[in-house]
Symmetry: C2
Subunit: 541 residues, 2 copies
Amino acid sequence: MQVPVRRIDLTDNTSFDVYDTSGPYTGYASAAECHDLAIGLPRTRDDWAHPGPVPASATASASASACGTGSDQPPLVRTQLAWARAGLVTPEMRFIAAREGVDEELVRSEVAAGRAVIPANHRHPECEPMIIGKRFMTKINANIGNSAVTSSIAEEVEKMVWATRWGADTIMDLSTGSDIHATREWILRNSPVPVGTVPIYQALEKVGGDPAKLTWELYRDTIIEQCEQGVDYMTVHAGVLLRYVPLAAKRVTGIVSRGGSIMAAWCLAHHRESFLYTHFAELCEILAAYDVTFSLGDGLRPGSIADANDEAQFAELRTLGELTRIAKSHGVQVMIEGPGHVPMDKIVENVRLEEEWCEEAPFYTLGPLATDIAPGYDHITSAIGAARIAEAGTAMLCYVTPKEHLGLPNRDDVKTGVITYKIAAHSADLAKGHPRAQDRDDALSKARFEFRWRDQFALALDPDTAREFHDETLPAEPAKTAHFCSMCGPKFCSMRISQDIRDYAAEHGLETVQAIEAGMAEKSAEFADAGGRVYLPISTN
Amino acid sequence: MQVPVRRIDLTDNTSFDVYDTSGPYTGYASAAECHDLAIGLPRTRDDWAHPGPVPASATASASASACGTGSDQPPLVRTQLAWARAGLVTPEMRFIAAREGVDEELVRSEVAAGRAVIPANHRHPECEPMIIGKRFMTKINANIGNSAVTSSIAEEVEKMVWATRWGADTIMDLSTGSDIHATREWILRNSPVPVGTVPIYQALEKVGGDPAKLTWELYRDTIIEQCEQGVDYMTVHAGVLLRYVPLAAKRVTGIVSRGGSIMAAWCLAHHRESFLYTHFAELCEILAAYDVTFSLGDGLRPGSIADANDEAQFAELRTLGELTRIAKSHGVQVMIEGPGHVPMDKIVENVRLEEEWCEEAPFYTLGPLATDIAPGYDHITSAIGAARIAEAGTAMLCYVTPKEHLGLPNRDDVKTGVITYKIAAHSADLAKGHPRAQDRDDALSKARFEFRWRDQFALALDPDTAREFHDETLPAEPAKTAHFCSMCGPKFCSMRISQDIRDYAAEHGLETVQAIEAGMAEKSAEFADAGGRVYLPISTN
């Protein structure tokens, strides 16, 4: 079993390995240069030895049978959740343990507890397994997919490759329009990361865009179509209940989730309970057959600071908790979608309630945006909230690009969104004390302190931009090894004094700070001897 | 007395007022177009009636006399701190109360307690007074000033005007080089916001860049020169003591503050205690004469995640607390500089210790950067930390531009840095429940919900960028009034359903959610009558 890693070669002949999401595309200028997109990636997971079917649940839960399964015998399924509960370590779990640098048993036990999910449809064997859970590295998702104006299919594949190059751990294909099936097929066959969808979008296309015409049967067939194709996780807005819709009337920004508003429209039009809710157990049976993970959608997430943590939002969250228990009783993995626009003082409460009501299922949040007043900068308003909510326990962050609220993201916006969210996720990993997180900060800071500019660039989340910014002021090659930078200039650099102190310690064999203090008087004389200058012009180095 | 405000006219014939820092330059393409920069701004504060001298301190503190003032009688001074302690409300306090929308007594009492400062040198009468304290709006500072390569003086004035246009509450002139005095003069005479400096930079220029050649007398003369010119607050690294320097030897990135490393170099070269520390009481007497505010510098701030909250950093902070008490006994206002690079889980401790050790003097922090791994994006890594530390009580944030660690910021970088920090500051104000903060979020979100695109742009922190991003996808003028946006297209928009619900409620006089629920059956029939469509194409609107 080969586990991907990106090895960064450093100028001191060492190297530094980082978690990598870019699959085989690393280093190619475009996806098409890497391999034939019509053939797709190797179906690696097909060759792995998976356990056979096991009971969906150790004990059939009361809530499951109450909801219409009608059976006291749990069905046999082949899902990571059921295998984990049966005490089995799957190849995916082993792969993930190596990838994250943790014990296989931690992976298995977190999945068994429902605190982590491995989105890996049996029909997406091209995927490199990854895990979403608060005990692991915080993950990020990038949305791709055209909106009203269709871009080409190949373009969507390139967007996926571009997003994963910069670190997207999963991508969601939110395509609408006529080529939705074909676009998804190309993306799935070429994606090294799990692919999520919001199936109601395609269902809506099938009824010409009229929510009232949606039916359970049509939705079910869409779900099966997407399961067959290999979608790894699906957003299902089954928590938007008829009685919650009026709660949104009081809001400043009403319902801002597309899936949420589609279901609200359906409920209003028919004055009946959502078919996603009434048929939820059947939905579980379908997803269990493929090991597709539920991403229970937050159709009533707040779209403005004023609406944060309100009755509508939390009413839905409680229902998602109820649905979580049903899904797990079917052996289906579940994560819970959350936030939107939430001020910083109300962020932690979201995590607390989600964990309490949804059995600590992995939380997957959009941002949240910590303020509404900066359209054009919502990657930043949301990174502030995202870092905070991830520190509090959110397992995956859905990125926001600078174009949020204003238009469709282009290639640069996608990159900016992904890098911004890698920053938020990594900041949270540092704060949570993730075992490997600080290593990269230390390696980069060490390179910075030692004026190894090329290493500093190479270790950065975005080496290209770091190098480009440096070169704007000091473009020449010698500047890449200069012991100063453009901020302070050659005559004076604050980091030099520290190196003088350290060199002094090394030279004199002074191991401890106390010893250095003792050497202070001597150092003083030495400084005077050297002309009292600690900062020498570059030419003398 | 006229108090500045920026009035945003909205398309519904209402308007929205926001706090404004841009002085008379608002709306001019450049500073030079606004007025003759050689003449400078009107000296408004010279005409205000200020109280006469009052005792520097109600009771001469023991620490002050221990430190060399040698007098039991507190001197008479004319500072905002001494006036506030004497129960006097100055014109500056009245101006600020109106500007912030708070009681004059809150302003006075916070200044009297040393929890807020009003940086307003008697010799900078062109300045529009503002306050820095945690009970008020979180402020941001933008650094300007050339580094090794000299830019023109006029360019520096334009940078100041540019930074304040986007919301910088103060600017720091960090110029080095030969024109340092003249540059500062131009900036001061034309700046509507307080100007801060780090006087040791100019002192170092005077001795040809050799820290060992610095003397107390030369530094003192530099301080007086800058006080005379009108500098409002000065960074003084008086907490870098000889015995703390070796603590930095153990660090990954040593000393990263320029001022800190200059003083460390001096201490090492002479093996004597810092002259800033030993002459601190004399420094207080000089600053008191002009009402210049101390910004006690954090010369040992951490330059990497690895060095955060370490012994060196906190040893200095304790000393800053000692100096705070001395300064206040002289009637001098004080703020404390802090962070640098700090992971999120260690941020709040910084505020807690600063408040405990420094008598809750306003905290003024650089970022902090929540991770080291994203050079090129350090406005974002630091906005994450800045929002967090401001929420915890930091009163002013020093901005970081995307070029941090890599090069000198250009005009775009300055703007990006300022807007990013306005976001962080405002997010904190929302979280702290600042009385006026959410009004702007609500106004913008209401405009968004009602598809008033022009109002959404106008209320944004950066209207130009918001409009530009919108127009990239939907450039035509009609799109500015369209009831949809490019994200979901004309056929479907999630916000419409909410408006349908609300319209229904208004039409039927249903005031409460319960009543709306009761009307649900009727609504259902109505939907069916209307053809079951809630989303109508734009052409029918």
